[in-house]
Amino acid sequence: MRTWRWVSVLAVLVLVLAACGQQPAATPDEGSEPPASGSESEAPEPSASEDVDGGEPTAGGTLVFAGARLAASLDPALTSDGESFRILQQVYEPLVDLAPGTTDELVGVLAESWTGEPSDTEYVFTLREGVTFHDGTPLDAEAVKFNFDRMQNFSEEFQGDAYYYGALMDGFGAENLISSVEATDELEVTITLREPSPTFLFGITLTPFSIVSPAILESTNADDAATSTFGTDVVQGGTGPFVLDDYVPDDSATLSRNEDYWGDPALLDSLIIRPIADPAARLQALQGGSVQGFDLVNPSDYETVESEGFSLVERLSFNTLYLGLNPVARENAAAAESGVAEVYEGEESPLQDLAVRQAIEMAIDKEALIEPFYGGRGSVADTFMPPSSGWSDAILAGVEPAEFDAEGARQLLEDAGFNAENPATIHFWYPTEVTRPYMPDPRGLHEAITQMLEDVGFVVVPNSDIWDSPGYLFDAQNGFYDLHFLGWTGDYDDPSNWYGVHFGYAQGEPAAQFGCDVDGLEDAISAADAELDEAARGEAWAEVAGLIHENVCFVTLAHGDTALAFTDVVQGYEPNPTGSESFQSVWLSE
């Protein structure tokens, strides 16, 4: 009998615990209580959470927000992914940035003004007065010089992680794009380039080019790979609207308002970012009330989010999923003695035949992918440029998109000499442990496209690897994969950030990832990159795009639409197609 009692006491205890803390603050229906807030769940515009109907912005409160993960490193220069940027750009600021909500307008941040045209090699930045780092040291021209010199002189251990600096400044060391960075006055910095770079200013808007307090860089030994603690310690080295208070890997990053911010101070008292890798689990956390907002809503959940009274903040699509084709992948893998080479068993790649590549392009019904994988919100990618880009029409003028034609694809394949006895065998790779805005379900997409290819007579060998280096990304970018998924979210709106970054030649060699060596492509890219007149630049890049698509170096598949979800007390989040967004203007109604 006693045992009975004991069991029932336990059961009651659990029930009491379950009942006693039903969170009032975070349940979705709670937000409708405040008076005068009106019916906001009806607002259909993407910017439903803006302050249109939530009353006047008020300061105060804590926002718990879920991303897919925390930062790869706390050193902004060593990061290259959106999840790291999300946290670090609240803390660190660049000289100039994209204006909120735009992809091609620049505004000064730490630089109040600047001179320098796309055709120039000299840029003069006048810094804002009275800006101090979170550690109390002042921002001056020397600090800016210190940061740029640091990145230019990164030792090899850091160079792999300092991806953006290397990619945008032509590598590291004295021979790269940057000729000199000089403090020409207390608040004046002059950056001289070796040659004109029309996109230089756009490049330095990125989080890796943020300015960090030199005192902090020195005290954390930031430049010594063996002893540096800058990437791991919680330090007060930024100038941004939030200060990093606490950082527990895999658990949470806690930021609080910078009371001494040079601009309008943030409205939130504190911002906590939690990593939840799975999009479904992020939505569950919003439904369960443990977070009040999250990024990268699974497209298939858009309806759920809206029907349950949460607000959906959609970004204009600024990304593209593509299928990379590499005719020389097998040689590359063998030459590099990569483990990938083993799967090819020395066979010759059918992708060397243009007709086979065309057959692949024709076999894929891009339209069919949009509904199941992008919740109907994405769009078919005819070119690399997403619809929100100002260049998409100009580029499309130079590209003739292939129509889906399974019969035609089969015919092409047969004419190329492949049939049931002698099938075209391709190895097709997808990444695991990852979802990206352009790639919500890599496995599912792989399976769907495999079926389309098999339907026209290809033999597809599935392969996969984990996303993080030295896995999938490394092998894909080094050109070891026959056929692979990858995509791109633009950093700013210029074709050079799309076609240029992917297909640019280095020392006369085509980009390893695609092995796309087309006659005239190298010259076309150089010419397009140097073209400064906007209309002519569009035409020049359209010519580049034409060459690439004609030769089927890749097949652009889809533009994914991305969105954030918030409980309806969260107001004032300003989405940007690039995903580069500040929480400074976010506030909680109530």
Binding site: R2, E157, V248, A281, A285, S290, I466
Partner: protein
């Protein structure tokens, strides 16, 4: 007794040595090169060579092994090649979370498993016994990841009465981390509400992780209580007219719990494995997810230190269980 403990401690030495060799060799057999992992896509052969030198990977295996073991002895677990974070720090930050979760699961399993086992044993053959047997069989057969998903769906999403993930409500309670065990830290901070909230966060993951041990403990308790109930001394006690409560406590429970103690030790290994799944599902920042990520990302330093520390802890727990077993059971003679 002292001799028994000493013998068990001595036995630990070859096991520990074997473990270090196994872990050390295993990660050096793993495909991929840590230097390549660090350099990423900009890896030139020369750069890889320089990084290998910096990491000491070009030295003879014996030398590397010595470095590894002497580091372990100094409690210096090294630095992660991938995140550049100090492995000791990371471990200490996460391990308390896993301890908390494991403890919750174990408490759930014991507080329900032992009484239910006794109950079903005393009513052997009744409908209650049959129901108990069926429930415990299902409990053993239900995978943690399926149970966890279903619990979360039912009690956090469909009927939102419990938190879906995390360890505490971060908006309501800003609790300074002292021990990294949320319940303890909340008490240290004098936040009773925070303590209750932390307990609520433990319920679903605790049940998900504790169900299999619950079922096993229930079965073992039932079986051993039945054995004890058939012993002469219990029959005598009952015949003497001792109150059943006294018989239960003084004679049955104490003797019947002996086999249960052993099972608890064995369950620890299962719990650590299960923590990988539970932590993934409930967003629990513990050591399970950390080790899992290290293995799939080839984070050698974390694997070679983390796995070893976990194994050592498991071995020590089992040793403690064996020793307490010896204390509890005077009948056992250790030679």
């Amino acid at each position: 007794m002292g001799k028994f403990i000493l013998r068990r401690l001595l036995l630990l030495i070859p096991i520990m040595l074997g473990l270090t060799v196994l872990v050390f060799l295993f990660i050096r057999l793993l495909p991929g090169d840590p230097a390549g992992a660090i350099l990423g896509e900009r890896a030139t052969p020369e750069a890889v060579e320089r990084v290998r030198t910096a990491l000491g990977l070009d030295r003879p295996l014996i030398e590397q092994y010595w470095e590894y073991v002497s580091g372990l002895v100094r409690l210096d677990l090294g630095t992660s090649f991938i995140t550049n974070r100090d492995v000791t720090d990371d471990f200490l930050q996460r391990f308390p979370a896993t301890v908390e979760l494991t403890a919750a699961a174990m408490i759930f399993a014991l507080t329900l498993g032992i009484p239910l086992g006794m109950l079903t044993a005393k009513r052997r053959g009744s409908w209650l016994d049959s129901a108990g047997t069926v429930v415990s069989l299902i409990g053993i057969s239900i995978p943690i990841f399926f149970l966890g998903l279903m619990l979360k769906f039912l009690f956090a999403i469909h009927w939102p009465i419990l938190p879906d993930s995390g360890r505490i409500d971060l908006i309501e309670y800003a609790i300074p981390r002292v021990t990294n065990m949320m319940t303890v830290d909340a008490i240290l901070a004098g936040e009773f509400g925070g303590f209750v909230d932390a307990l609520r966060h433990l319920i679903l993951p605790g049940i998900a992780l504790g169900t299999i041990p619950l079922a096993i403990i229930m079965r073992i308790t039932r079986a051993s209580v039945i054995d004890v109930l058939n012993e002469d001394y219990v029959r005598t006690a009952n015949a003497k007219g001792l109150a059943s409560r006294v018989v239960d406590n003084r004679h049955v429970l104490r003797n019947a719990l002996l086999p249960v103690v052993t099972v608890i030790g064995l369950q620890m290994g299962l719990l650590l494995g299960g923590a990988i799944l539970t932590e993934t599902i409930f967003g629990w920042g513990g050591v399970g997810k950390w080790i899992y990520d290290a293995v799939v990302n080839n984070d050698y330093q974390v694997i070679q230190s983390g796995v070893l520390v976990l194994a050592v802890i498991f071995v020590l727990v089992n040793l403690a269980v064996d020793v307490s077993y010896a204390f509890l059971n005077p009948r056992i003679r250790y030679s």
